[in-house]
Symmetry: D2
Subunit: 332 residues, 4 copies
C-alpha cells in the first residue's frame, strides 16, 4: 500500500516535472500561495504588469493634480552605510582623479564613478516582476519556481540578466499618487511587526479627506519607520510595520498599480503569522503585477500635508534587472 502511494506520488511529480500532461493539468493544482494566478489580466505574454495601467488618460488625470508646481523627491540618497539586506553590497569609487585627460589645448579632464551593487535591490528600490516568485516543487529546480504570469525561473533567468520580466519591459509610471499617513492617523510611529488594517487605511483616508483609490493609482504608506534610516540602521533593519495580506488583497481589488512605503519591504515584518515570509510580495508582484517601492522618504510630503499628487517614476531600463534604483517624484 505504502509502495503504491510512493509510486503514485513519484508519478505525479514526474508528470508535473516532465510536462507529460501539459501545463493545464497542473494548473488546477494548489501552489503554496493558492491556486494558479496566470494568465495575467493583460494576457499570457504580458511582461509589464500594472504599468499597463499607465494610459494617456491616467496621465491626464494625474496632471490635473498639479497646481503649484512643487516637486518632492521621494527617494533616498544611495551611500555607503545605508541599510542593506543580507549580503547585498553598495560600493562606489572614483577611479584615479582625473579618470581621463588632460586632453587638447583646452586641457579637458573628466571623472567617472565605478559602482558595484545589487543596484535594483539596495536603498530606495523598485521591485520588478522578475524579483519575486514561489517554489512549487523540488528545491533547486528552476522549472518549479514560478513568477508573474506563471513563468518559471528556467524560462526567465540567465547568468547575465533575466530573459523575461526584466525591468526594461515596464512602462514609465505616471499616475495619481496618494499618501496614506498611517503614522499621522495613529499619532505615532508604528511598531515592528505591527500590521496595518483596512480600518487603519480607511481611518487615515477619512482623516486626510481622501475619498477613493482608483485603478492605476500609486499608493504610498507612511509608517514613520523611515525616521530610523541612517539613524538606527540596526533597528530599521530588524523588522518593520506595514501592510499584510488583508490590505494587500483589498488594494488588489481597487486595481491600484503601485505601493510604496518608508520601510524596506513595504509589508509588515515579521508577519503576524510566523510561518510566512514575504506573502505581500507574492500577492502583489507575482500574482497581480503590482509594484512595490521600498525605502521611500515622505518627510516633505507630510510637512506640507500633501496627500494627493501626480506621481512619476521611470525605472532605469537595465536589461534583465529585477528592480531599479532611482527616485520617484510627487508633483502638485
Amino acid at each position: 500500500m505504502r509502495t503504491l502511494r510512493t509510486v503514485m506520488s513519484a508519478l505525479v511529480v514526474g508528470m508535473f516535472l516532465t510536462g507529460v500532461c501539459g501545463v493545464e493539468a497542473w494548473a488546477q493544482m494548489m501552489t503554496p500561495v493558492g491556486p494558479q494566478w496566470w494568465p495575467s489580466r493583460w494576457g499570457p505574454n504580458d511582461e509589464a504588469g500594472a504599468s499597463n495601467w499607465m494610459t494617456p488618460e491616467k496621465v491626464v488625470e494625474a496632471v490635473k493634480l498639479i497646481k503649484t508646481g512643487k516637486v518632492y523627491r521621494l527617494g533616498r540618497v544611495y551611500e555607503a552605510g545605508m541599510p542593506l539586506r543580507g549580503q547585498r553590497t553598495y560600493k562606489l569609487t572614483i577611479p584615479t582623479v582625473p579618470t581621463g585627460g588632460p586632453f587638447g589645448k583646452n586641457k579637458l579632464i573628466f571623472n567617472d564613478e565605478l559602482v558595484t551593487s545589487e543596484i535594483g535591490q539596495v536603498g530606495t528600490q523598485f521591485d520588478g516582476l522578475g524579483h519575486i516568485g514561489v517554489l512549487v516543487g523540488s528545491e533547486g529546480d528552476q522549472n518549479a519556481m514560478r513568477f508573474y504570469n506563471g513563468l518559471t525561473a528556467a524560462q526567465i533567468t540567465s547568468p547575465y540578466g533575466l530573459k523575461k520580466l526584466g525591468i526594461e519591459k515596464l512602462k514609465p509610471i505616471f499616475t495619481r499618487g496618494v499618501l496614506l499617513d498611517i503614522a499621522g492617523f495613529k499619532g505615532r510611529m508604528l511598531d515592528k511587526g505591527e500590521e496595518i488594517t483596512i480600518a487603519d487605511v480607511q481611518g487615515a483616508m477619512t482623516k486626510q479627506g481622501l475619498t477613493d483609490l482608483k485603478q492605476g493609482d500609486a499608493v504610498l504608506i507612511n509608517t514613520g519607520w523611515g525616521s530610523l534610516w541612517m539613524k538606527d540602521n540596526a533597528r530599521f533593519d530588524s523588522g518593520c510595520p506595514g501592510i499584510g495580506l488583508e490590505v494587500a488583497k483589498w488594494l488588489v481589488g481597487k486595481q491600484i498599480a503601485y505601493v510604496g512605503s518608508d520601510t524596506w519591504p513595504v509589508e509588515v515584518n515579521p508577519n503576524p503569522d510566523p510561518d510566512v515570509r514575504g506573502v505581500v510580495h507574492q500577492e502583489l508582484i507575482m500574482k497581480n503585477g503590482i509594484f512595490l517601492h521600498e525605502n521611500l522618504d515622505f518627510t516633505e510630503l507630510i510637512r506640507d500635508r500633501a496627500y494627493e499628487f501626480a506621481y512619476i517614476f521611470v525605472p532605469v531600463p537595465l536589461k534583465g534587472a529585477t528592480g531599479s534604483p532611482g527616485s520617484p517624484i510627487a508633483v502638485r
Copy 2:
C-alpha cells in the same frame, strides 16, 4: 635674462599653487578655457547648477504642454554590447537563482541583479557637475584641476565618491522640453565631425514652428546619429555630429538648463578645431552648470512630430557620483 624669466615663471607658479596671493589675484588670469568662470550665477556655494531653474513656475509652465497624456521614454536600454567609451564597463549578472529562499510555508523566492559599471557614464548618461573640469597647472596636481564654481579636484574628490558636486545635489528636472530635429531640417543624418550652426538651429526651429527657447528649457538635438546605436557601434563611437562652441554659447545666452542628443558626447566630435577636445562640455557643464544628456533616443518623438513637451528626469541620487543612469521622459 633667461634665468630671470625662468625664476619669475617659477615664482608665479609657486604663488598660484600655494595660494600666497589668494584666489583673487589668480582670478584675473586666463585659464586654458578663458577667464575665471566663478563664482557661479547661483553663488559661490552652489552645487546644483542649472537645476536651480527648476522652479515651481517652470513646472507649471511645462505642465501646460501636456495635452494628450502620451509619455515617451527617451533613454536607451542598458545592456551588454552597447557602445562604451574607453575602458568603461557594463556588467550585470543574476546571482544563483534563486538569490534567496525558499522562505516560509509560502516558499518565497527572490532574485537580485549585481551590476558593476561606471553607471553614470555608460549608455544613456546624464553628466553632472563633478564630471568635467580643466587642468590649469601641473599635470597630476589636483589643486590645479578646476570644476564648476571654481572648485578644485582636491576639494571635490575622494576615493569613495565626490565630496562636492555629486549628482545627489541636483534638483529633479521638470521643465519645458524642445526637440530640434536638425536631421529633419537637413533631410539627412548628419556626418561625423559636422558642426551644427546657429543657422541650422534657427532653420529647424522655423521649420518646426518653434519660436523661442526660454530660461530653464531642456533642448534636445536630433542628429540622426543615434540610428547607428547597436547597429554599427564602431561607427557610432568613431565620432559624431553635434553642436560646437558657437551654438553652446548661444544656448548659454538663452539660459537653457539642459542639452540632450542622440550622440555619445552631444558635441561635435572630432571638433573642427583639431586642437581641442570636449570644449562644449567645459562651456556648458563646468562654466555654466548646464547639463548634458547623452545617447538619447528620439525615434518616437520624431515619428509623432512632437517638438514641445514637458520634460522630466530625476537623476539617481548616487552620493558623490559624476553622472546618472536613467531614462528621461517627454510628456505631451
Copy 3:
C-alpha cells in the same frame, strides 16, 4: 502502449528526481558521460580531488629535481585586453590617488586596486572541482546537475559561493612537473581542432628523454598555441589544439594530478566529434578530480629545454570559488 511507455518514463524520472529509490538505484544508470563516477577514489566526502596526491613523499620526490635553483613563472599577466571567454570580465581600477592619506606627520599615503572579475576563470586559470558538471535530467534542475563525487548543484551552490567543492578545499600543489613539448616534437604549432594522440605524447617523451609519468605528477602540454596570446586574440579564442578523451583517459590511468597547457581549455576545440563539448573537462575534473590549468606560458621552459622540475601552485583560497587565479612556478 505509447502511453504506458510515457508514464513509465515519467515514473522513472520521478523516481530519480525525488530520490524515492535512493541514490543506489540510479547509480546503475547511465549518464550523458557514462556510468556513475562516484564515490571518489578518496571517499564519498572528499572535496580535494587529486590534490590528495600531494603527500610529503611526493614533495620530497619533487624537491630532488631542484638542482640549479632556477625559477620559471608559468602564469600570464592579468590585464585589460587579454582573451576572455563569453561574457567574462576583467576590470582593475585604482581608486582616487592616493586611496588613503596623508596620515601622521610622516604623511603616509597608500593606493589600493579594485578588481571585478570572474577571477578564477580569466587569464591563467586553475579549474577547481565546482567548475565542471553534467546535466543528467531536466534543464534548470539543480538536483539533476552532477559534479565531482556525484554532488549536485543543489548541494554545492549558493549565491555567495560554493558550499562544497570550493577552491579553498584543495591542498597546495607541490609535485613533480613534466613538460610534454608536442609542438617541439611535431616541429610546428599545432592547429585548431588538432587532437593530440597517445602516440604524440609518447613520441615527445621519447624525444625529450622522459621515461614515465607517475602518480600525482603535473603534466604540462605545449601546443605552441600560446604564441597567439595578446598577438592574435581572435584566432587564439576561436579554438585550439589539445588532448581529447583518448589521452585524457590514458592520463587518468597514470594517476597524474594535474594537466596544464598553453591554450584556454587544455583540451582540443572544437572536438573532432562535433556532438561533444568539454568532454575532457568532465573526464578529468568531474569524474577523476584531476585539475586543469589553462593559459600557461612555457616559453622559458622550452628555451631551456627544461622538461622535468618541481612544480608548485597554491590556489588562492577564495571561499566557494570555482577556480583560482595565480601563477604556478617550475623550479629545477
Copy 4:
C-alpha cells in the same frame, strides 16, 4: 621682511614643483620620512625591490631546508565576514547556476564566480611597491607623492592600474623562511600597541635555536594576535602588536626581503609615537623595497615548532596592482 620670506618660500616651492632645478637639488632636502631614499640599491629603474634577492643560489639554500616534505599553507581563506580595513569590500557571487551550458550531447555545464574586491588589499595580503608612499608637498599633488625608487604618483598611477611598480614586476618569492615566535617567547599574546623590540627578537631567536638572519630571508613574526581573526574582528581590527622602526631598521640592516605577521599591518598599531602612522610600511616598502605580508596564520607551524623552512609565494600578476592575494607556503 615677511613679504620677502613669503616670496622666497613660494619661489622654493615653485622651483621644486616645476622642476626648475632638477631632481638633484631637491634630493638633498628632507622629506617627512628623512633624506632621499633613491635611487634604489638595485638601480634607478628597478621595480622589483627585494624580490631581486630571489637568486638561484637563494633557492638552492632554501631547498636544503626541505627534509620531510611537509607543506604548510600560511594564508587565510578569503570570505565574507573577514576583517576589512576602512571601506574595502570583498564580494563573491556565483552567477546563475549553471553559469554555462548544457552544451553538447555530453551536457557539459560550468559555474563561474564573480569577485569584486580590493583584491590585493583584503584578507591575507601582500603589499607591493606601489601601495605605500609619502606626501612631500601640497596635498592632492601627485607630483609630490613619492614611492619606491623616488617615483611619484604622477609617474606610476593611472585609473586602470599602476603604470610602474605593479605587482607583476616582482620575481616569485622562494627563499629561506624563519618564524620568530614572539608570543611563544613572551608566553602570551602580545597587546594592542605593544612594540616588539630587538631584544624580543633576539630572545626569541635564542629560545628557538635560530642563529642568524640572512640576505633575502623571509621573516615571519608571530604575535598571537591572529587568534582573534573571525573570532573577535572588532578587537582584531582596533590595533595590534608588532614591530616598530627600531626592529624595521635592524631588519633592513640584515638585508632581509620580506616580513610577514599574523596582524593586519605587520607593524605595531597604534604606534607608541602618536604622531606617526604606518612608518614601518614606509621604511620597509617605500625606502627599501622590502615586502610585507599581512594576516598570515602560523598555527600549524607553531604546533610543529617549525621555525626554519623553505618559503614560497608567487604574487598573482595582476597588471598594475598594488598588492596580491594568495597564500604563501612553508615547506620543510
